[in-house]
Symmetry: C2
Subunit: 459 residues, 2 copies
Amino acid sequence: MNSTVDPVLTYISAHERDFVDDLREFLRIPSISTESRHAGDVRRCAEFVAEDLRRAGLQGVEILPTAGHPAVYAEWLGAPGKPTALIYGHYDVQPVDPENLWNSPPFEPTERDGYLYARGASDDKGQIHLHVKAVESYLRTLGRLPINLKFIVEGEEEIGSEHLPALIRAERERLKADFVLVSDTAMFGRGQPSICYGLRGLAYWQIDLVGPNSDLHSGFYGGAVANPAEVLCDMLASLKDDKGRIRVPGFYDDVREITATERAEFARLPHDDAEFRHSIGVAELFGEAGYSTLERMWTRPTLEINGIWSGFTGEGSKTVLPSRASAKLSSRLVPDQDPDRISDLVEAHLRKICPATVTMTFTRMAGAQPVVTPIDHPAVKAAARALERAFGVKPVYQREGGTIPVVATFTDELHAPTVLLGFGLEDDHLHAPNERFLIENYFGGIRTSALLWDELGSR
Amino acid sequence: MNSTVDPVLTYISAHERDFVDDLREFLRIPSISTESRHAGDVRRCAEFVAEDLRRAGLQGVEILPTAGHPAVYAEWLGAPGKPTALIYGHYDVQPVDPENLWNSPPFEPTERDGYLYARGASDDKGQIHLHVKAVESYLRTLGRLPINLKFIVEGEEEIGSEHLPALIRAERERLKADFVLVSDTAMFGRGQPSICYGLRGLAYWQIDLVGPNSDLHSGFYGGAVANPAEVLCDMLASLKDDKGRIRVPGFYDDVREITATERAEFARLPHDDAEFRHSIGVAELFGEAGYSTLERMWTRPTLEINGIWSGFTGEGSKTVLPSRASAKLSSRLVPDQDPDRISDLVEAHLRKICPATVTMTFTRMAGAQPVVTPIDHPAVKAAARALERAFGVKPVYQREGGTIPVVATFTDELHAPTVLLGFGLEDDHLHAPNERFLIENYFGGIRTSALLWDELGSR
């Protein structure tokens, strides 16, 4: 179709193993943004990314400080008159606990059965790295790119991208682009590429209940004093009815119901509940009544316990009436829910149902707007063609249940739509032990990236 | 009243500080029986106790092995024709977590405001040690004791005394006594000595729920898969009604209601709910409707969460849908409840309410029968007189909410009643950070012990 890209594709095929070796170096850095003891590793990782972009031939490479972890910028602007794409990704990763459930160490990338296992392999180091390798493949062969490219790679995505919006505002001119490209999502399935046009938002909280001023002996006091762990269970259990509907007043007020068209399209996607159930090892699925599994994951909001702890959790038995009980909770949000308003509603409801036997602290930890992107933008169409050329299969259009907090900021600050072009798989074990990235998708991603610039530059 | 004991009391007064120094050595040993990494410390502590008994002048000192941690035996049988008392205590202690809430290190005994702070100070090292010091005071002054004494000091009380019943059965002849004396309870209040005639029993369990075969990304899967932490909260919240009554079918079937006399006597005790509330720092008390605070703690069964954990419990936010959720639960039991029957009822009920979205493992961890002791036994009466002589205040008769698993075994195997003579205080922070023992009660306990032998020997 377009022979100018051929040397680039040939270079990619010849260097696949080198690319994987480079990715391993990236994955070895434990850049866990939420754990302060890893702050040095996060910094080191930013420096690695800067050097990686420089080695690929990008220019203007700069580590941009924020009030938290830094972001890395790079550009290649040698195609005047052609479109400009801003590629966004993140080099920070999730914590690794429970570490004992990993089959190989999370920061020693290990190949098994065609997958590369490591924390961050799919989310998001592998997916940002494939774009760097596409750039390298162009610049080492043709000496130029078909369009203008900018990279912004941040270090706080896993903790809610707290300082990125301010950075984007401050750097609005330098980051200006016709569209933003994000590879931080999954393909619909193995061998089935897809373009994602919707993401859920997020609101994340911690609640801490304090009852007695000290842990008490459950024999002496048990029966006469409210147990904060029990109060917490009561409160959390009351947040949903037995059909999975959230009982916080006003929670669903701003939810935009999906259209009949979307519903019909999702129903046509090759999803099988039995297979899905089997893949995660549960005997029965559970979710909000009246919605399919894909609808529940992509288009319905949640209110979920991410962590809970109280009292004695060690080996053996300890007869304690705990002084404190805590939980981490979050909601995935859908258009047009707003994280601040949902946080207000959840906090007000919890304060209302919290009994006088304990005191509650409610801490807001992260928030992100839900987004839906137009699917008729030229970059979206070009991405669809690039995917078909790279994978030999027409992509499907889907939404996704996860959150990329920064996408809403790009919309607001750069007035640029975001194209979500993901190469992960649903069972990559993101945020869990044994995270992995299918190596053939890493290679397919490099080719798709190269072909996308070709598609956009030749028009 | 009885001048032969005067040199003993004089010796006690002259050696108070030496006694405290000796107790500190005992408290420095981290004999945490439930934590396998402390097994060596537990063994070392048994050796310390043996040496301590030997130094006091006791004979036949022997470390008796069990299938778990050993017990220590000692005796003085030089008063033929006089009664024989078996003194029971335990040298093992509870875990210390959360250690960061201790104001001084748990195994560096520290004096503050008349209290000695250390794990085990009151439960039970301080209270077994005071009897050793009473023996020392007799043997160093009069060269003899007024009655025959035996000591059995075990190392597994805090983990349910699993191997002690077998040991008591095997050593039935050597342990034979007219009564058993246990100092492992609290006085009614500071300056108000008491004799305890009832203890609650215990049944302790762990439940583990497993949902998905791995922690899942709460964005991708949230809303479509049951969250084990939420299932656990739902199950636990359903175990009691909003009046604090346990909803496990059959749970109350064997509960012996207290008599009108007991109820009237408890009502006369100088207990004040506002003061009690203040002492533990809660704005409001909570317990089973229809019972007073003392009745709830001493005479009513409980079903309580001792620990709960699931998902991400570290610093910051992690958007995980946890694979597992666990809780430690226990019931304090009252006559005539049986720990095995209650375990059967609780397990059956939990299995019944556990949904198909998770699998549950139910583990039985410890059990102990509740006990009530006759209050007209000569040893009980002698103890009352000894307390009055040592503290200058008439003791009250009370029950207690805690559990001493072995008491039921003594009743069954030795056919000997147990006298519960405690010198702790309700706010000694047992099983909690900053455990302490009032030093004046330690001294008062030594005097009471000496005077009790005097009372019994002079009759």
